[in-house]
Symmetry: C6
């Protein structure tokens, strides 16, 4: 038995574009894209929830996750010409 | 004994191009390229299947996999001039 | 029970821009963005504080954290045309 | 006693150029460059072969290897102006 | 009790610029920036010294540290237009 | 007691330039820069030699080292405009 994630949690690029109005929105998009990638690889909410407590209290995991967000943000920032 | 993957799972760049119509398709391509690289290194489906349950329930592994997708996506997004 | 971080610690891009006057300010922003990403994933101050002593005395963790800062700085430096 | 790899397995950039006709060939080159780097660091075939079974059945190792290929491919794709 | 690092060891970008005369100076700056990031996260010299022997004799740690330097150098090399 | 590395093994950018005639020479330079970074962090040859057997027979270590070379090569390839 498993609890599938809703369809909107499985979209690769929420909103369908890398262009955002502000750096803050671009950062939020980077975080969202990183999360949705995890959803696409593991779409069972129960398994994701089971891993969450250990994951989010482990500094090594938090650092690894923040690195993925940093890489996604590089792409989004370049797409937006750094909101210059 | 081993179960070889079908030939199409071993293609490096499915579709033969980095150009896609939308960011969503570009993201799907990034995921596919990342998967096919794994297939090229380990083309035995039985071994891949055996590793899947542990892999996809382990937050560290999911994070590592999502980082590879993020890197592949950087390349695809640049190729498409960020779909601006 | 948990101690939530203050709202300003949860901003993705403090100051709302990637543009800074000097490389030194850009570096400080990279460090801040990296920290705030951690905050966004784990907004409970108690859990963050509990992990801090082990984290900040472990060379592997310090190295991993410094890599995230290096990646964020790449983005900020490019945004500022390297302060040339 | 050791079994040295043949000279052609130790070339850093097989073919001597980053330019390829197609993305598929570029991807194959990325994989080859990644492998040859391993060969250059460890040129004893016996040691490489001994590590192979454990390596290629370990999802963490496969993911790490695919990340190296992704990074090499970034370089090759840029060199080829993304085969646009 | 702790031994704080001197103020100059906590500067993010020593010299206040990414521009250097030579690649060799750029490389030294990359190394310095990487070290100062560690200092900023962990400013207690005693803790840093305690970790040093294990750290600097562990090939995995040395490799991880050298990767951070490589990433910092990418930024510095781009800032200097590769000293072409 | 320790055996210091010779001075030339401690140069950050051997040859003093990122420009090379061929991709093959660029790749060799990437490998050399990666090695010299290790030397700069750990300049005692005895410690380096002690770590070598375990390091060079461990697929995870070889993969990590090859990733550093891949990152250094990105910089060198860009510096040389990809030898186009």
């Amino acid at each position: 038995m498993s609890t599938p994630l809703p369809a909107e949690a499985l979209v690769g690029i929420p909103g369908g574009t890398l262009i955002t109005k502000t750096p803050e929105e671009g950062r939020a998009l980077a975080m969202l894209i990183a999360r949705h990638t995890i959803h696409q690889i593991q779409p069972d909410l129960d398994i994701l929830k089971a891993g969450r407590p250990g994951y989010s209290a482990d500094p090594a995991m938090l650092t690894a996750a923040s690195q993925v967000v940093a890489i996604e943000f590089q792409t989004i920032a370049a797409a937006n010409n750094y909101w210059r």
